[in-house]
């Protein structure tokens, strides 16, 4: 499944989900990001790896940070970048999504970076693009956000030595979180000892344990002895649909406060994919505190996205060689 992410030679062609990718490939992404991470500190923040390539950021859902880090990553690799922000309500349904896609493809695009509010949208687009085009999933519905997961793994690797020894807790709205799904898959693939999810039953998927996680409904129990705490953003529209009574009650039960953080190991790191709702899922003193690595995550996002883009476009040579 998802095997169309890889070329026949086993190189990354699309990057749609972590599911189905093997540990050496995830490690390769992080190793390559490590090489790229120095570039941001140079005077000339550019390498010519993707010179002459055209990358289109195709965002059907609002995003500032993800879009700008993708843009920055592409520019640091010397690619040409176009941004399309498409209001999903303006495009009617699937047909026009394909129309949009084929129109952009006709401009000889090499890569689409796609964000869409529907699960499976990136997969759908990857199934319909020309064979020389790569698709990077920048978040699809509640399904996957693989570059976010990889930058989180990269951040964890910088702070902790061996994945196998770690205990990681993910707190909050797992049900609607593409970030959590990709993180859980990445953490399992990298062999993390124990993955926990903490949240009320209304925000956890049914049969959640089949994802290979331990389920907790209580912060004190769930955070006991963990090395990494990942808090998820709580979409405030979740109060509709009777998933939660109020943001205040959520904060009381699942908000990461200094008191609750004490259940974790003293050297535990605190992560958040952003943007943060202060006082809803996390206390300001924790978000800005010494254990927080939240801003590092943003920085690492650029290196990870450079790594993934260069690997996917590098595999285009597989295609052109096959053509020749």
């Amino acid at each position: 499944m998802h095997s169309n992410q890889l070329t026949e030679q086993g190189h990354l062609r699309h990057f749609l989900t972590i599911e189905g990718l093997k540990r050496p490939l995830l490690t390769e992404i992080m190793d390559r990001a490590e090489q790229f991470s120095g570039i941001g500190h140079r005077q000339v923040k550019k390498v010519p790896l993707l010179r002459g390539k055209t990358i289109v950021n195709l965002f059907f859902e609002n995003s500032t940070r993800t879009r700008s880090t993708f843009e920055l990553a592409a520019k640091r690799l010397s690619a040409d970048v176009m941004n399309f922000n498409i209001n999903t309500s303006a495009t009617s349904k699937g047909e026009s999504l394909l129309d949009t896609l084929h129109n952009l493809e006709a401009m000889h695009t090499d890569m689409f970076v796609v964000r869409h509010n529907q699960s499976g949208a990136a997969e759908f687009i990857a199934q319909h693009v020309a064979p020389y085009v790569s698709v990077i999933n920048a978040g699809d519905g509640c399904h996957a956000h693989p570059t976010q997961a990889m930058l989180d793994m990269f951040t964890i690797r910088r702070h902790k030595q061996h994945f196998a020894d770690l205990r990681v807790a993910i707190v909050g709205d797992i049900l609607h979180s593409r970030v959590a799904r990709s993180q859980i898959q990445a953490l399992s693939t990298l062999g993390v000892g124990e993955i926990r999810v903490i949240g009320p039953q209304t925000l956890l998927p049914r049969d959640c344990h089949t994802m290979g996680v331990h389920v907790y409904h209580d912060m004190a129990e769930g955070l006991e002895g963990v090395d990494v705490v990942i808090t998820l953003r709580l979409q405030l529209e979740r109060m509709q649909g009777a998933l939660l009574p109020s943001a205040r009650e959520y904060y009381r039960c699942f908000g990461l406060t200094p008191e609750k953080l004490r259940y974790a190991k003293p050297d535990a790191i605190v992560m958040h994919p952003g943007p943060i709702n202060r006082g809803v899922e996390i206390a300001s003193s924790v978000a800005d505190g010494p254990q927080s690595v939240i801003l590092e995550q943003v920085t690492h996002g650029i290196a990870i996205r450079m790594a993934v883009m260069s690997m996917a476009l590098g595999s285009q040579s597989d295609f052109y060689e096959a053509e020749a």
Binding site: G94, L98, S119, G120, G141, A144, R181, P205, R206, T210
Partner: protein, 424 residues
């Protein structure tokens, strides 16, 4: 026109007949099932050597899209597909556009079907006007116009008072009520079965309780009103159990299952395969087993196509935005008999679920091979061995998840009222 079908294995599930004899047809009727009929000169002889001769299939629910969505499919296109699948009688649910809530629409459909002249197309009338769940439809007029039952289609009646009154009124008129059991709120929320696959793919789920809540409410009101009711397209093992208990209590309740729910499960969604997007959703492997068991036990009396032809565009998009539905007329027979090949059902039971049992549910005289009956006959090649290729469907809807499946059984000839309406 005088016709004889020779050399076939003649099976009539209603009378448990399974014999190697000839079927003689004259003036549109079966006149004899015999070794040899003296002084019979046939205009047409069909050699059915090595084949199964059985009643034409009776399909409890097929959407033909006419009137209302003729750009998708028509009565003409879909009846052609039906006979290619061995179907000679089918019932159309009321959710056409306009809705079958007045005799004019019934007449329109019957006219078009008569013009096509290859399948008996029956109509199921609306329970409520425009299917909006508020005012009762003129059921007596619908019955008089020829409707074989009443239903609110896929639009659940939310208001329990209206639902109760609708059942009571239908009961007064001795009409069977056809029910698609789904709690509207729990169903509307999702697009796939709520379980491991929905968790993995990040698609919103429809819990089993969407079906069972509705079935339990409906059973209580059926008991209270005394109406005869039929559940369409049961998808969960739990609902089978509830219906079994109701039948044991003596309630006049029957039920059917779709051929796709007997073969597919949630895992067939694979990589967001929109062709497997269907309502009710494909459920767990366990549910599928319990549906098959329900057939063996006779709790589910019929297998129906629940045919929903769609435009190609309808399945092109991210999963949740695609339209649910499967084009199923041409796979009903091969999929049902695949259960026989797989030793899940015996041949007689399988054919009964496609012929006499659905006919009995509709309260019509069809689905049997007997002297004097209309010669609606399906001749099946049990060794056709073909690969399913939806793009070659006769139906205007090519939306089938069974592409590439290998089937053995296939309709070779279909007779409707003694007329050869299909020949492979």
């Amino acid at each position: 026109m005088r016709m004889v079908i020779t050399g076939g294995r003649v099976i009539d599930p209603a009378s448990q007949l399974d014999t190697q004899q000839s079927v003689y047809i004259d003036n549109g009727k079966i006149i004899a099932i015999n070794d040899h009929l003296a002084d019979f000169y046939a205009d047409l002889t069909i050699d059915a050597g090595g084949m199964i001769v059985c009643p034409g299939l009776v399909d409890l629910s097929a959407r033909l899209r006419e009137p209302g969505q003729e750009h998708t499919a028509t009565i003409d296109s879909e009846t052609r597909a039906a006979v290619a699948g061995g179907i000679t009688t089918l019932a159309v649910p009321p959710d056409t556009d306009p809705v079958i809530d007045n005799p004019a629409v019934v007449e329109l459909i019957e006219d078009r079907a008569k013009k096509a002249g290859r399948v008996m197309v029956l109509t199921v009338g609306a329970l409520t006007q425009k299917l909006d769940g508020q005012l009762l439809a003129e059921m007596a007029a619908l019955k008089q116009a020829g409707c074989v039952g009443v239903s609110n289609g896929l639009n659940a009646i939310k208001n329990s008072v209206v639902w109760r009154r609708a059942l009571e009124y239908a009961s007064t008129l001795d009409l069977t009520v056809f029910i698609n059991a789904a709690d509207p709120w729990l169903q509307k929320q999702g697009c796939v079965h709520e379980g491991t696959v929905s968790a993995r793919l990040g698609l919103s789920g429809i819990p089993e309780s969407a079906e069972t809540i509705s079935v339990s409410r409906d059973l209580l009101l059926i008991e209270q009103s005394g109406v005869r009711a039929h559940f369409h397209n049961i998808s969960s093992g739990r609902a089978v159990k509830m219906i079994r208990e109701a039948q044991e209590r003596g309630l006049p309740v029957t039920a059917d299952v779709s051929a796709h729910h007997l073969h597919l499960c949630e895992h067939d969604l694979g990589n967001y395969d929109a062709l497997s997007h269907v309502l009710p959703p494909l459920r767990s492997v366990r549910d599928r087993e319990q549906l098959q068991q329900g057939l063996r036990d006779g709790v589910l009396q019929a297998i129906a196509s629940h045919h929903q032809p769609l435009d190609a565009d309808a399945k092109l998009g991210p999963f949740a935005e695609t339209q649910p539905g499967i084009s199923a007329l041409e796979t009903l027979l091969p999929l049902t008999l695949k259960l026989v090949e797989d030793d899940e059902l015996d041949l007689l039971t399988a054919l009964a679920t496609l012929t006499c049992q659905p006919a009995e549910i509709l309260g019509i005289d069809a689905g049997q091979l007997k002297i004097g009956a209309s010669a609606d006959i399906c001749i099946i090649n049990p060794d056709a061995h073909f690969e399913c290729w939806p793009r070659q469907f006769i139906s205007a809807g090519k939306n089938s998840p069974f592409s590439g499946w290998l089937f053995r059984h296939q309709a070779a000839y279909t007779l409707f009222q003694g007329k050869l309406v299909y020949q492979r």
